[in-house]
Assembly symmetry: C2
Homo-oligomer: 329 residues x 2
């Protein structure tokens, strides 16, 4: 296995410090048939359950992808990424997510015995820091803006392996496992509705379903308060991002935007937005059914209800993955 540039084709080893091509292009994973990542590092990966529910009048299959060791689907990416790093002999990484990706990478690094520095903006909530600290990650709180944190991680990544959930294709190699699981849990759906920020779930699903030879229509859902992918998809002018309850997908400049657009188009899918009010209503609806998710996870439910009003989804097999536990703070 190796990385190659999706722009110029230049190849790079998996264990180097380069996390994108010198030409500026993003990495993809080149994998030969039969090449696989190890799985010696485990926190107890079990297939997440699927519940059939009718939301308003819309029958859907809810994939409870928050029922993972660290409380979110990001574990899928961290599982493959960290196992690969362990096999490569890497013993120290840096990462810059204060959210579910950071927790997942910190948790799996702890399991692997890999040192892990997580760069987060000052002011990150105590609950998130508590989980990172439990995994004994070295938490680096960067004063200033989110951009200052981004600058700090770029400095750190010059000398230490960058276990990025955005740049590193091995993370997406992990998030694809949801598609494979679904194939054995009632089959590949007609349609899948996915919250879209950096595209970790969306691109993973695209890779996974592509390997299976059949793509469901991918409906990418963004917050109306931060919708750059939606704007580009529909040829609209992007608005400046505003704070949203869907903080897990509040990504103003997604690095893999072009891939996300191509995936949605290739699937015959669509891109929509939902308001904070619709997200909170969807979160309450799930809670009233006994399903406790964080607001970002409710984006997919709000999107499904928005995209398939009334009985318009009848007869379709629609999967709605739920990305993060309500216990997350």
């Amino acid at each position: 296995m190796r990385f190659s540039c999706s722009t110029c084709g230049e190849t790079y080893p998996l264990d180097g410090l380069d996390f994108h091509c010198r030409c500026g292009g993003l990495f993809r994973l080149d994998r030969q048939a039969g090449e696989a990542v190890g799985a010696s590092v485990s926190l107890g990966e079990v297939p997440t359950p699927v519940l059939e529910r009718t939301l308003n009048h819309l029958p859907v299959r809810l994939k409870l992808d928050f029922m993972r060791p660290t409380g979110s689907f990001k574990d899928r990416g961290a599982f493959v990424l960290v196992n690969a790093l362990k096999d490569l002999g890497i013993d120290h990484v840096v990462e810059d997510s204060s959210g579910n990706a950071g927790a997942a990478i910190a948790g799996y690094c702890a399991a692997a015995g890999i040192r892990c520095d997580i760069y987060i903006p000052q002011g990150t909530s105590p609950g998130k820091i508590k989980q990172l600290a439990a995994y004994q990650a070295h938490v680096v709180q960067v004063p200033g803006s989110r951009d200052d944190t981004a600058q700090a991680i770029l400095e750190a990544a010059r000398t230490t392996y960058y276990a990025s959930h955005v740049y590193n294709p091995l993370f997406f190699e992990g998030t694809k496992s949801m598609a494979h699981e679904l194939a054995g849990q009632g089959g590949i759906p007609d349609c899948i509705v996915i919250p879209a920020g950096n595209g970790t779930m969306l691109l993973g699903a695209y890779i996974g379903f592509s390997e299976l030879g059949r793509l469901p229509r991918i409906i990418a859902v963004q917050s109306s308060r931060c919708a750059p992918v939606h704007a580009r998809f529909h040829g609209l002018e992007a608005q400046a991002p505003a704070p949203t309850v869907a903080e897990g997908i509040a990504i103003g400049r997604p690095m893999r935007m072009a891939e996300m657009l191509a995936a949605v188009r290739d699937s015959g899918g669509d891109c929509i937005t939902v308001t904070d009010e619709a997200v909170l209503a969807a979160q309450r609806m799930l809670g009233a059914m006994g399903i406790y998710v964080e607001a970002t996870a409710a984006v997919a439910v709000a999107g499904a209800l928005e995209y398939f009003p009334g009985a318009s989804g009848a007869g379709l097999d629609i999967v709605v993955p739920l990305t993060g536990s309500g216990l997350k703070k």
Copy 2:
């Protein structure tokens, strides 16, 4: 199925308002061969994973029983109890746990469409109330002491079904499923180390393993700051309870003490205590391995390390269940 008094043998229907015998005795479940509780109410029950780990020098199997829909093993009890209540046509219940049992019963009642009033002491942490509120449980905050809450629930239980995780044998009928799962996950262990408060896991394990025809030695672990079962087991004078980090097992007067003692004795087991310092050290040890649990869950690990020092556990198959997620507040 029916309830019968474990003291005088008097029988009671499952759907009545009596939650213990008029003689004062506690209920047990009388079940004929072939009688089973329905399972139409589901939040996505999947077998929880088992990880083989060496803690200091002690090889154990960790049963990650917090990887359940509401974040704790108490889901097992709520699953069976609420399914039974649904089958019985009960549409409104009361319960008085501010912790994991309350969350589990509220979550499953939401899934079942059963109204649920949860009585909690004023001052319960916002995180716990948030989860109960998400399930749209009616949260009744009772001013005053824990005893005032106990008094309030007794009043409420005169007119509304008491879905108690302590009195109701259907709850223990649920928690027994961990034993059945373990039998199919590497087999019945030689020894199982269980945090003991009200005995929801301990008695469930005892019932489950008894059904399977082979009892592991049950090591019941209490906090040194609240250890009435330990005191009675060893014929010591009980000390007044003091606050402990293991709040989930801080039960000064366990209703089912006699059953717990009998279960431990019948298994050839033992009862020990662990200090708060040992509990917190065990919690840190798990976190450093990527396993994020609440302090009460770490009691079992602290107990295993206390009971099997050095290499004294070598050659034994020791299971340590982990009861609650670290994401719980």
